[in-house]
Subunit: 192 residues, 2 copies
Amino acid sequence: MPAQLKLYGHKESGHSYKVKLALTIGQIPHEYEAVDIFLPRNQRPEPFKSLSAFGEVPVLVLNGVAHAQSNAILILLAEHTKTLGGESAATLAKAREWLFWEANRVGFSLAHLRFARQFAPQVVDWLQARFDADIARLAQEFLDGRPFILGDRVAIADFALCAYAFFAEQARVQLPIEVQDWLLRIRALKDW
Amino acid sequence: MPAQLKLYGHKESGHSYKVKLALTIGQIPHEYEAVDIFLPRNQRPEPFKSLSAFGEVPVLVLNGVAHAQSNAILILLAEHTKTLGGESAATLAKAREWLFWEANRVGFSLAHLRFARQFAPQVVDWLQARFDADIARLAQEFLDGRPFILGDRVAIADFALCAYAFFAEQARVQLPIEVQDWLLRIRALKDW
């Protein structure tokens, strides 16, 4: 039975565009549903709202499991199809390097230059607002009482997320108590 | 024979910190060498300069192959050790979502808030300078005449990198000719 694939996206989102392009060029059969991204996140329609971990497009549902984050979805598609960079462990490792370079470099500088030129002369205020939203989203993860991002055990997601949080004072920002507690748990790990 | 692992890093780099933390907490035996990141990239010592695809720390050498980009290295470590999120395909997929969320969210807002508060009241100028460096680095990839990032065939790295480049006019930036040509090759693909 072929895999069931459904993409939720929007044509104005560069992140959705990446995934739609991979599905189309890769000739991977899929359903597509446009989500109105001009609605506030909490007013976006079901089932998208329930499926989406971060309230954002794109979301790809693969065999009933919803996946978020455009570049993470690209890795999944490459692994799943064994094409588009997924031909071997070595090509996939190289592709992942470029995906993170993109997230950190042109996907950052170009995307935000576009935004700043159009909307935001006071970019520090905008970064602060974005940070406030980001850190609240992260804090929310710990409301169920679990100690680490993926559950009971520390994992690579924790290491990525905590690194800059340890520099919060230099950015002159306050961390929510849930995030402070999580950082204390990381500091308490053997060999920290 | 156990894997040969060597990390090149620096203690002031949040990106190096992620990888060092994973190796230490995961009790993964490795060598470590500090690289002076206050030297210009082209003056950093060998063998680091040759090993490093982007001239940046961290670089992890695993069984003779050099890997860049901190979050890509974290994925590799999780796959390699089957711990730290690498226990199953499902935990790894979830970890990758968080790694890209981090790159795009707190790893962006917090890292750059810290930078902007310390160094850059004129953040648009700084974004422009960063973009100039980023796009030149990307253009350099095509100087050997290959059509796509990973070689002869289009791959997920191309899809991630091209998405915002198609919005260059909105950011009022010029793309180098090598990048323009690469975008034309992507537009020429069947089903684009």
